[in-house]
């Protein structure tokens, strides 16, 4: 089967969306995990709040996965026949993937914030709520990235076309 340039570009977009998000989320979760291990080694009872804080940077990975799936469905690579799409639409899909990929870098900062938050929770358990809020702040930019990508997909008929 020969793939058109538009399809190839869309697939690259999906790859960037998932690949970059996976790397970022992995680093973020890793940072939080190292700190979490430090806290749990001292106080295993804090596993619950630590797990919540560690899970926060994972969401960027989910956004990356969602973006990739949307692209792949939109161009028919998943759940149907591969469509013939114009090069312009392929670039749009690539752009959407890049937006999601780049905005997932926030997971690294979120991991660092979560790690610090774990220290704060370990020291003063009552700060759990505040630690979550601080970590979620970094998340907003990843949500904006996903939103822009969806707008691109809708506007260029990759979604709902």
């Amino acid at each position: 089967m020969e793939l058109s340039t538009g399809i190839v570009l869309a697939i690259i977009g999906a790859a960037i969306s998932m690949g970059v998000a996976a790397i970022s989320a992995g680093i973020g979760v890793g940072l939080a995990g190292i700190a979490g291990a430090g806290v749990i080694s001292e106080d295993p009872k804090k596993f619950g709040p630590i797990l919540v804080l560690q899970a926060l940077p994972q969401t960027q990975g989910i956004y990356g996965f969602l973006g990739a799936v949307l692209i792949l469905i939109g161009v028919g690579v998943l759940g149907g026949e591969v469509k013939e799409i114009p090069i312009g639409m392929g670039y749009a899909a690539l752009g959407g993937g890049i937006v999601i990929g780049l905005s997932s870098f926030t997971a690294i900062a979120q991991g660092a914030i979560s790690a610090s938050g774990m220290g704060a929770v370990a020291k003063r358990p009552e700060t759990f709520g505040q630690a979550i809020v601080l970590a979620v702040m970094a998340e907003t930019f990843a949500i904006f990235g996903l939103l822009i990508a969806i707008l691109i997909f809708v506007g260029t008929k990759i979604m709902g076309g």
Binding site: L31, I34, A35, G36, A37, G38, V39, S41, E42, D43, K46, A112, A115, S116, M118, G119, A120, A122, K123, R124, P125
Partner: protein, 351 residues
């Protein structure tokens, strides 16, 4: 920057969890009301000290003191194992401290003519030297013999203070010599090493306060510069100001020479108490408080990396010192209010 954050992430999270188990302000208040080791031990339940509180510690102040020190020593060893490799001087700082404490115990035992068993019981495991080595030290017949036994250890230069000790029978010379070995060795190492700026800043303040304490004490005791010169740590900029003027200036004159430094205000504030009591301790207390404050400042300035570790180590040491002061106050007839005031002045709450 990222490297610093990463390598200290585990350590800092662990020590913050440990800080969560520090003695709370409310518990300190209760501890001050205690009149027996048993009461103190019951208030230490749920803290990191509780696993160390055996039957003897509940009944006897000396054993309780030992339990507190053992916890502190084990903590040092635990942290020394997880410190990033590049920060090995921090490990040395944590471990060699116990060699110094044990050597000081041995020196005091010999000087005070304590029974060998009594000195042996006071040693705490945890230093760099083999613990069995300390057991051989108690067989020393006198101070000369003791110093001979230290040959081939990092502490062999203690002999520098021995002559002065033999001449005056003043422990100050031996203890200052011991402190000098500890601080000078560490200081010269951290000066050469890159990547441990915060720890270097901290050790720098410790070295300066060590030198200042010796200079002020010497001035107060009307000692000559040549008497204290062997105990001062070199590579310390403060000495350039103070030493040339040491013989001409009196105590307040020396303090005024420190006007552009962080030591001036605290020492000036302690001068009135020194004049009232005649005790050099007022100066030593403000200098100790300054080290604690400095560690707090480093921590605030560098919330990732070595900052939290330095802050933790100093606040833990302060907690132990304060706790020991309370335990000892149950043992001897001292003015508790006075001790309390001194202890609270030194207390530092970690941010």
């Amino acid at each position: 920057m990222i490297g610093d954050v990463l390598s200290y992430l585990y350590v800092n999270a662990k020590i913050m969890a440990k800080e969560g188990k520090f003695i709370s302000s409310a518990r300190w208040e209760d501890l001050w009301g205690c009149t027996s080791p048993g009461e103190i031990a019951s208030l230490l339940e749920g803290t990191d000290y509780s696993p160390y509180l055996n039957e003897a510690a509940i009944n006897e102040a000396k054993e309780l003191e030992r339990a507190v020190l053992e916890e502190f020593s084990d903590l040092g060893r635990e942290i020394s194992k997880i410190i990033p490799k590049g920060a090995w001087p921090i490990k040395e700082y944590l471990l060699r401290k116990w060699d110094i404490i044990n050597l000081r115990t041995a020196i005091r035992g010999i000087h005070g003519g304590l029974r060998k068993e009594e000195t042996l019981d006071s040693f705490i495991e945890g230093g760099e030297l083999d613990f069995n080595f300390f057991k051989t030290l108690i067989d020393a017949e006198g101070m000369d013999d003791f110093v001979v036994l230290l040959a081939k250890t990092p502490y062999q230069s203690l002999s520098e203070g021995l002559a002065k000790y033999n001449e005056t029978r003043n422990l100050f010379f031996l203890e200052s010599s011991l402190d000098k070995i500890f601080w000078e060795d560490l200081w010269l190492k951290v000066l050469k090493l890159r990547g441990i700026k915060e720890f270097r800043d901290f050790i720098g303040v410790c070295v300066e306060t060590h030198n200042l304490k010796i200079i002020l004490r010497a001035k107060d005791d009307a000692l000559a510069l040549e008497d204290i010169d062997p105990f001062l740590i070199p590579e310390c900029t403060l000495l350039n100001e103070l030493l040339p003027a040491f013989d001409e200036e009196d105590l307040s004159g020396l303090i005024s020479l420190l006007e552009d430094t962080i030591y001036f205000e605290p020492l000036l504030s302690a001068q009135a108490e020194h004049e009232r009591t005649g005790s050099i301790l007022s100066f030593e207390e403000v200098l100790d408080s300054l080290v604690i404050k400095r560690a707090g400042d480093i921590r605030k300035k560098k919330p990732f990396g070595q900052g939290p570790l330095i802050g933790f180590l100093v606040s833990k040491e302060t907690e132990v010192k304060n706790l020991l002061a309370i335990v000892r106050s149950t043992e001897v007839d001292l003015d508790r209010d006075e001790i309390r005031e001194s202890v609270m002045r030194k207390q530092w709450k970690s941010p």
